[in-house]
Symmetry: C2
Subunit: 443 residues, 2 copies
């Protein structure tokens, strides 16, 4: 199976370079182990600890990062030996894949490494043990390697399915091609799974609009929105994957353009914004390169639907106000808001929140806001209470307290499609531009 | 809200033409109603019946089609009045959207039409009735309009999310742009939701390879597969949506190229092939334009994993052979097959089938094959038996009987990724080209 680099297939020059770089990274990190053995030491891998307790929200950079704690994996420690072996097995599989001009997926890597090791135990018995059984196990080993090598898996040319799309006045270089993203017709450019290999050549845009829903992206694209408003239009097609997040982060960093997120008005939509902005708690080590801390949520906001009268009424009560101020100071200084929807539109468009929506909202902001703002005792009683849930730090702002308070109070959610059904013209020529120009977004 | 065509947004010329055509279609079909009224007749809509009993598998064209039965919706029939009103309401919403330069989705259309009609009943009571409550209802009305107008919803510029992607030596025209699909770098071209508006300009390819899984598409693309083998590479990213199916059908019809489907080796993968080839039972009226009857399943086949020895053993028994011959004659004349996987690869790669996989397989081929080929009595007893399930006609072939018999016997399935994990070179340079050149596919 072994072969020289680039002697088959017709891969791009960019990939050949990336492959060379990745081979070096894997090789040099493993050399350290050899040196330990030569020095007569026990072979040990040392890497940052990927645990919740070692996950820190960096207030200055506004992102989730791994803390300073380290963990070691020693070959000679019986509790660590299996993990040590798994890590080396995975490193060698990835190394071979790189050498063989391959582009494995994490599913491939699981299959490639999956086998049984048969050996005699100390008491002479024949023992059989699997390298790993579930993909969960091999995925975790891949994450270990990412933190050990300080790379993203994409840097090792590990591919994945990719949902993100983009159109706009942007010329990029990908592989051996130069691609004008304003010349995609009615279709769109499907982002590559390794967005770090993209080069931005030319841009003529004022902001980046990330739309959660592909169908809304299609509508805005077809309407000529990005051309009219000089936007780069991106869709994550639901929960954003890694490549879309990295792509948006690079657009933000390198083009110095503001990023606005347009999602459904429900805790799931808010969470999508949160993943773009700060990363996911469980994969905090990736945030440093995947998160876009400057991303702004432009809507759909609860206040776009209901205005702020509900919230004003709630904070008139001293006790309620005090509790909400504990979550975020400044709730009384928020700018007033009038809704974009009429009473009858509201009644046709809103959807009743389910218990799992409420629980997701509590995850975002903790119990205090729910306790103060929810009047429906029946709905309240259905929420499962978990120990120690205090919400994400980046939701502890006056704006989000207001949004989520209204959510808990009205038990309502709304899809972007409802805004589009008021007329695509309304969505494209009024709602989005007005919100952006008036600064009616949440940072 | 009313405005003249094309006076806002920056839509393409193609869309302007499509919009004009769609407006005419809706207008002229509704004119018939006016004429009925002028003639003093009761306003009545007549359209093909969209029921299972009126769904026919056309053996000659190898697709599911609607039969000759018609249904009528009369305004003055109390049982039909609501449906009649819903149909007219939907037609008017679509007409307005077309006039207003919009691109609604079926979700939009649901929202746009959703409201309560308040009226006084015959006995003077105030009654309130909703136009529709669930999207299921409004979707069904859209389908009625499709058969009434003999169009696909896409012809009315109704958009939807779209997962399909394509790369290859193909130049297309979409909107106002000419796009070279061989110049997409590491990314891909995301197919538009209205593929009938695409124009094929130039092609240099020998076949179309449709890959079920986006991650495998990414690997083959990156490897340069389509360049090396002159293929147009398409992915449906799972269950194919309407636009991807229509796009593949048009590639097949207009470029006169064979279409090969590469999917997982499980009843779900077989079903994906089936949707591409013959359409889905519930939406048979669309098949005439969405299905690709000449599509071939190249794998992964059960015989690619296990060879044919299992099957040969089963049909040695006279009774078993007789029953299987009843499903499809010719099972003894099938070409022998040797597997692509070794014994140890098999044991690492195969996944145990679940009851729902077995039930899905029964849907495809009926109970006879399951009854003859399954030896695991426990697994057999878990399958829920449904009346009248005899399988789809296009699976009643000797090849599919062999494939599904092996599936029922081994209770195993396999993902394409397992083939890729044998080496991308194996998948790209041996498995796919060899299967195509030797004709080892199922028609």
């Amino acid at each position: 199976m072994r072969q020289r680099l680039g002697c088959s297939g017709v891969t791009s020059k960019i990939d050949l370079e990336a492959r060379g770089k990745a081979l070096d990274i894997v090789k040099y990190s493993m050399r350290e182990l050899l040196e330990q053995i030569e020095r007569g030491e026990k072979p040990t891998l040392i890497m940052p600890k990927r645990t919740l307790s070692n996950t820190i929200y960096d207030l200055k950079h506004k992102m989730l990062l791994l803390g300073p704690e380290l963990q070691k994996r020693s070959f000679t420690d019986v509790n660590e030996a299996k993990k040590f072996m798994q890590t080396l097995l995975m490193a060698s599989i990835i190394y071979e894949a790189l050498r063989n001009n391959e582009y494995p997926t994490i599913r491939d890597l699981y299959y490639r490494g999956k086998h049984s090791i048969v050996y005699r135990s100390i008491d002479g018995k024949r023992v059989s043990e699997n390298t790993w059984d579930e993909q969960r196990e091999s995925d975790s080993v891949i994450r270990d390697l990412e933190v050990l090598l300080s790379v993203l898996r994409e840097d090792l040319l590990i591919l994945s399915k990719e949902k993100g799309k983009v159109v706009g006045n942007l010329v990029i270089r990908s592989g051996d091609d130069t691609i004008d993203l304003s010349k995609m017709g009615h279709g769109a450019y499907s982002i590559e799974p390794t967005p770090d290999l993209i080069e931005f050549i030319d841009v003529d845009a004022e902001y980046i609009l990330v739309v959660e829903k592909d169908a809304v992206f299609q509508q805005l694209h077809r309407y000529g929105f990005w051309r009219k408003y000089k936007a780069i239009l991106v869709t994550s097609a639901g929960q954003p994957d890694r490549a879309t997040r990295r792509f948006v982060r690079r657009l933000s960093d390198e083009l110095k353009l503001p990023v606005y997120i347009l999602a459904d008005s429900d805790p799931y939509g808010f969470y999508i914004y949160s993943v773009f902005k700060a990363g996911s708690i469980t994969l905090s080590y990736e945030s440093e390169r995947l998160a876009t801390p400057s991303a702004k949520f432009i809507g759909v906001m609860m206040t776009d639907i209901f205005g702020d009268s509900v919230f004003k009424k709630i904070i008139k009560e001293r006790e309620a106000r005090k509790t909400l101020e504990e979550v975020a100071t400044g709730i009384e200084d928020l700018k007033p808001k009038t809704p974009y929807l009429s009473e009858s539109e509201r009644s046709n468009f809103i959807i009743k929140a389910k218990t799992k929506d409420l629980e997701r909202a509590v995850e975002l902001i903790g119990y205090k806001v729910a306790d103060v703002c929810m009047e429906d005792k029946d709905a309240k009683s259905k929420i499962k209470r978990k120990e120690g849930l205090t919400g994400y730090p980046w939701f502890a702002t006056p704006h989000w307290v207001r949004e989520l308070c209204i959510f808990f109070n009205t038990l309502s959610k709304l899809e972007i499609e409802a805004m589009a059904s008021k007329g695509l013209k309304f969505l494209a020529d009024k709602y989005i531009p007005e919100k952006i120009s008036s600064g009616d977004w949440i940072d």
